[in-house]
Symmetry: C2
Subunit: 207 residues, 2 copies
């Protein structure tokens, strides 16, 4: 049966490298896999991603940000994720609703019940089969991400913001261990990838 | 005390002419008035308006459309409407939440309870002091609007859609007569304007 896997974490924890690694593992195991991302993944979603990450609007209200995220998600689910799962393809998504709990809930302090209500409306009972959260201290992520390109609107937040995001991610993993797995992203890449592969087997994504 | 007035109606009922007329009445009465519109009214809102009305995405999911509307509204309230009212200025807005009930609720058939929940989250207890709904049969509106420019994504809907929108508007006026007033927009402009002026007095917008 087609699996829905999401990869989460703050900036600099190695999401992109590990997304490619997971895709390769799924492919090697004979899975047909669609790789996508949030916010984005559709024409509308990518337009919203640009609006959400643009520097031109640093004072966007937190409510507006939350609703744009779920608007993009509704579109993404209806046009990409659900059709792929229905065709029997795995879906591997760079960030999903757990990022909303972490960034808008933990980071911005928005009411988690409000996020939960939107999650219920937009997704119904659908949840990822496995959410992998790459976890590392904020300073480690920042040091790694700092070597890259110019930070976007959300990446320019202060360390305290990302500490709250990280704590929210850790809490999600504690609360829903049956489908959310925290991966220590501090060790060298090979060790992280070994942890990821073990998780994919433990959660029955790979046989 | 500053008043919040919204003007509603399907295409072709004369919103623009009457918006200008109301603005003039308020100005003549010595009111300082901010005129704005939805979706739009802020940089983010105008970007979302473009996305919402663009023809490129005719299959946008109804949930996505609903959340984009309220995202734009949250921004509009926080950046334009509430600050203006706080400064003592009247706000005259071309469409507001009643349009969401009419178009997304009536037109698209979305759950009215969902709209009500979003209204509560984004607006709290804030409602317009007066909502004027310009009412005319769909064929009258279409005939008048037809003389204008190319229709946008929503304007290209079929007559049955606009019949549902009109019915939803009429129902809102029936349900909340204390702040929503239906204006017959079929008579000549002077007669419609006379009705509008009477309403503004009846609802204590003008002395």
């Amino acid at each position: 049966m087609a699996k829905f896997i999401t990869l989460e974490g703050i900036e600099g924890v190695g999401k992109t490298s590990n997304l490619n690694f997971i895709q390769q593992l799924l492919s090697d195991a004979g899975h047909d896999c669609v790789v996508t991302r949030e916010p984005g993944g559709t024409a509308l979603g990518e337009s919203l991603r640009s609006l959400l990450l643009a520097h031109s609007d640093t004072q966007m209200s937190a409510d507006a940000e939350l609703m744009l995220m779920f608007a993009a998600r509704a579109e993404h689910l209806n046009k990409v994720i659900l059709p792929a799962l229905a065709r029997g393809q795995d879906v591997l998504c760079d960030r999903f609703t757990e990022a909303t709990y972490a960034y808008q809930g933990g980071g911005r302090g928005l009411d988690l019940a409000k996020i939960g209500q939107l999650e219920h409306w937009v997704q119904g009972a659908l949840r990822p089969d496995l959410t992998l959260i790459l976890d590392a201290p904020v300073e480690v992520g920042r040091a790694r991400a700092g070597r890259r390109s110019t930070p976007d609107r959300i990446e320019t937040e202060q360390d305290a913001f990302f500490e709250r995001v990280r704590a929210a991610y850790q809490q999600l993993a504690q609360q829903q261990p049956e489908r959310i797995c925290l991966i220590d992203a501090v060790p060298p890449l090979e060790a992280v990838q070994s942890s990821i592969e073990q998780s994919l087997r433990k959660y029955n994504i790979l046989d």
